[in-house]
Symmetry: C2
Subunit: 157 residues, 2 copies
């Protein structure tokens, strides 16, 4: 494909518009369900979920930020809110005081457990149910390539 031509052809336009719809409307739909049923955003859910699968429920903030595709200021403010609700605790990394370790508390794990069923059901309804097994595989392949390119783009910045 030639990146130098300054326009998209019709097929590309269709795909592009569809992708835009998904990246705009899917987060909106997820946020709405989570906000209504659990009072948290999709992003906040992702932070809880990441921490819950980490070793000892603990990660450095910078690592967590990368895993959640977040900036550090954004994550820092989420952590403020989470500490206020006692869902996580922060402490300096004993190995290197510049790092901060975040650990999911039992209350945080419980919040995640409460929120998960409806959220997962929503994800299944919106993303998995409409697709056949083959379509899911193809989607995964294509999105992986795009995700890798976009990640690289943001890191180079």
């Amino acid at each position: 494909m030639d990146s130098r031509s300054p326009w998209l052809d019709d097929d590309q336009q269709d795909l592009w518009q569809t992708l835009l719809t998904v990246v705009i409307a899917l987060p909106a739909a997820l946020d709405r369900q989570l906000q209504r049923d659990a009072g948290i955003s999709n992003f906040e859910y992702g932070v809880l979920a990441r921490l819950s699968t980490a070793d000892e429920s603990t990660l450095r903030l910078s690592t967590l930020a990368r895993l959640c595709d977040s900036t550090l200021p954004r994550l820092s403010k989420v952590m403020d809110r989470f500490e206020g609700r006692a869902w996580v605790v922060r402490r300096p990394d004993p190995d290197d005081g510049r790092y901060t370790l975040a650990t999911l508390t039992e209350a945080g794990r419980q919040k995640l457990a409460e929120s998960a069923p409806e959220h997962v059901a929503q994800v299944k309804r919106l993303v998995f149910d409409p697709l056949t097994a083959a379509q899911r595989r193809h989607l995964g392949t294509a999105l992986s390539r795009i995700a890798a390119t976009v990640r690289q783009e943001l890191e180079e910045g």
Copy 2:
């Protein structure tokens, strides 16, 4: 696929995480380029682009909102900014005074033309270049189904 089981299996987790990365990081990458090079957001670019392809460069706000997957308050505020820069004009629809018609001005069209080349190049680099023709077709098929489901969700909700 059974929506009732409350968890995702490993394959689903992988796909889900990849999709999350794309819906979070792709808009961020697009916004950054547009903000840097043109001083507008990806969403605002989409509004200009939609208007530019409409008959007489004119659409009802409610129609434009639907086409851009936007809420009406959000679009209303974008229109305030655009009118301030004289990129659009608003006027009541003569056929039905409840509707408002938005028309792209010549200045607005020019802003779009200036912004387009770099933005389109970015879209190609991030979305199209990493994929083969077959992968693009498959991606379009899968995303169309998801987009349709999500749109329906948001309209009902």
